[in-house]
C-alpha cells in the first residue's frame, strides 16, 4: 500500500504550514516595498540628485551611445572567449605540474610554483603593460590588441586557476587514489577517472568566482588601445561631457556576470542536494 490518506490532524498541520509560508511571503513583499520606497524617497530628496541623474543616467545619451558601446563589448566578449580556452589549458597543465611526485620532476614543480607565486602577486595592469606594449616592441611588429590582451589575461588568470585546480585535486581524499590504484588504474587513469571528477565538484565555486572576476577584467584591454566597450564609452563621454556611456558599459558587464553568478548558486545548491539525503534543518 503506497497511498495514505492523511489524517485530519495532518491536514490541519499542513494548512498551518501553508498559512505560515504565505504569511512569510507577504511579510517579505511588504518589507521589500517599504524598503524600496524609503530608499527612493531618500535618494530623490538628496541634494544634488538632479545633477547626478543628469550626468550619470541620461536616457537619451544612453540610447545614443549604446550601439557603439555594444560594438566594443563584442570585442570584450572575444577576448573573454579566447582567454577562457587558453586559461583552461595552461592552468590545468600548471596544476598537474605542481602535483607531480618524484625527485625527477623537481625542476618542473619548482617552475610551476614560481610561476603561480609571481603571477598571483603581479598586478594585472603591469602584466598588461609589459605584454601589451613590451611584446610588440621586442618583436617589432603590430599585434592586434585582442591577442595581446588574451596573452596577458592568460598569464595572470592561469596562475589563479591553477591554484584552484591544485587545491581541488589535493582535497580529494587519498583513500580515493588508493582505491583506484588497487583496482589497477594507472596514475593518469586514476587522475582522469577518479580524482579530477571529484575535484571538479570542489573546484566549481571558486572557479566560477575567478570566471566572474575575469569577465569584468577583460575591460582592461581598453588601455592597450583596443576599441572595446570601455574605450567606446570613453570616446562618447569625451564628446558629450556626460558620464552616462560609462554606466551603459558598466551595465553590460553586470548583465554578463549575473547569469554566471546565478548558475554558480544553482550548481552549489544542486550539489548540496545530491550529497545529502533527507531534509536539511
Amino acid at each position: 500500500m503506497t497511498t495514505h490518506q492523511p489524517s485530519a490532524l495532518e491536514l490541519e498541520r499542513r494548512s498551518y504550514r501553508r498559512r505560515r509560508s504565505q504569511r512569510s511571503v507577504l511579510v517579505a513583499i511588504a518589507s521589500t516595498l517599504a524598503f524600496a520606497a524609503l530608499v527612493w524617497v531618500t535618494v530623490i530628496n538628496t541634494e544634488g540628485w538632479a545633477k547626478v541623474q543628469e550626468s550619470f543616467f541620461d536616457p537619451a545619451i544612453a540610447l545614443k551611445s549604446l550601439p557603439r558601446v555594444w560594438d566594443g563589448f563584442l570585442l570584450n566578449l572575444q577576448v573573454l572567449g579566447l582567454s577562457i580556452v587558453t586559461v583552461a589549458v595552461v592552468a590545468l597543465a600548471i596544476a598537474l605540474l605542481r602535483t607531480l611526485r618524484g625527485p625527477v620532476f623537481f625542476p618542473l614543480r619548482a617552475l610551476a610554483t614560481v610561476y603561480t607565486d609571481i603571477f598571483r602577486g603581479l598586478p594585472l595592469i603591469i602584466v598588461l603593460y609589459l605584454v601589451g606594449f613590451g611584446l610588440p616592441t621586442i618583436l617589432n611588429t603590430r599585434i592586434p590588441p585582442v591577442l595581446l590582451g588574451t596573452i596577458a589575461f592568460t598569464l595572470t588568470y592561469s596562475a589563479y586557476v591553477a591554484e584552484v585546480i591544485r587545491a581541488g585535486i589535493e582535497a580529494v581524499h587519498p583513500s580515493q587514489r588508493l582505491a583506484a590504484r588497487a583496482l589497477g588504474l594507472g596514475y593518469v587513469q586514476t587522475l582522469r577517472r577518479v580524482v579530477l571528477p571529484q575535484a571538479l565538484r570542489k573546484m566549481t565555486p571558486p572557479l566560477m568566482n575567478d570566471f566572474v572576476s575575469m569577465q569584468k577584467d577583460v575591460g582592461l584591454v581598453s588601455i592597450l588601445g583596443a576599441m572595446d566597450a570601455i574605450a567606446m564609452a570613453k570616446s562618447e563621454v569625451s564628446l558629450t561631457y556626460n558620464f552616462t556611456p560609462y554606466v551603459v558599459a558598466g551595465l553590460l558587464f553586470v548583465l554578463l556576470a549575473i547569469p554566471t553568478i546565478r548558475l554558480t548558486d544553482w550548481y552549489a545548491a544542486r550539489l548540496r542536494e545530491r550529497e545529502q539525503t533527507g531534509s536539511v534543518l
Binding site: 495514505h4 533527507g278 534543518l281
Partner: protein
Amino acid sequence: MSALLHAEGIWKAFGDKPVLEGVDLALDTHEVVALIGASGSGKSTLLRCLGLLEPIDDGQIFLGDEDISDPRVNANRVRSRLGMVFQSYNLFPHLSVLDNVTLALRVVRRLPRREADSRGRELLDRVGLADKAREHPDRLSGGQQQRVAIARALATEPELLLFDEITSALDPELVGEVLELVRALAEDGATILMATHEMSFARDVAHRVVFLDAGRIVEQGTPAEVFGAPREARTREFLTRFMA
C-alpha cells in the same frame, strides 16, 4: 498516560517511497527499548522522526504531555531535551574532544566556559576518555569517537537517548567498549531507544524489543518473548537469518 515518549500513527515517505506506514510506539521513563529489523526497514528514519530531525507526513509524537509534532512548537527546544547518537559518530572535526562535548552546553544552555568545561571533563571521565580532552576526533579510534559522541549527547542531560546503530560502523573488537557504556547508562536509569543489530546485547540489556519490518511494527515484547518465542513468521525469518 505516563509514557515519556508516545508516538502514534507515524507516516513518512521519501518522494513516493513509503518508509514508515503508521508506527505506534511508547516509551516509559527508565525504559530501554531495542529497535530491530533489516536494513531499510525504517529504523533510522523512525529515530530521526522522533528526534525531530525529519518531518513526519502524518501522526503525532508526544514528549511528556506535549505534542512535539505540532509545527507550532519550538523544535530546537525539543531537540535539546533529547540526545542523539549516530552510526558514523558525526563528531565535529574542527573541535577538540572536549569542545565537541561542551558545544551545546555553551551555545544552547549558555553555560560559562569554565562550568561547561568541568561538566565536559566529568562526562569524558565517565566514558573513560578524560585523557583525550584536548585531542581532535580524527586522532581517536572508532570506539573512542563513538564514546565521545555519547558523552556529547549526554551533556545536556537529555530525557531520552536515541541511538541509531551506534556500533555498526565499528570494528568487532571496538564494539564491546561502546556497548559496555550503553549498559552502564541503562543501569543508571537512562531512557534509551536504540536501533541495533546486536541481538545478544538487545537480549541482555533491553526491557523490550520492537521488530520493525517494511515500515511497520510487526511484533514487540520482552526479549524473552521476541527472541525466545516469536509469534510472527516474519520475525522468525528475520531472526534465523540474523542469528545464523
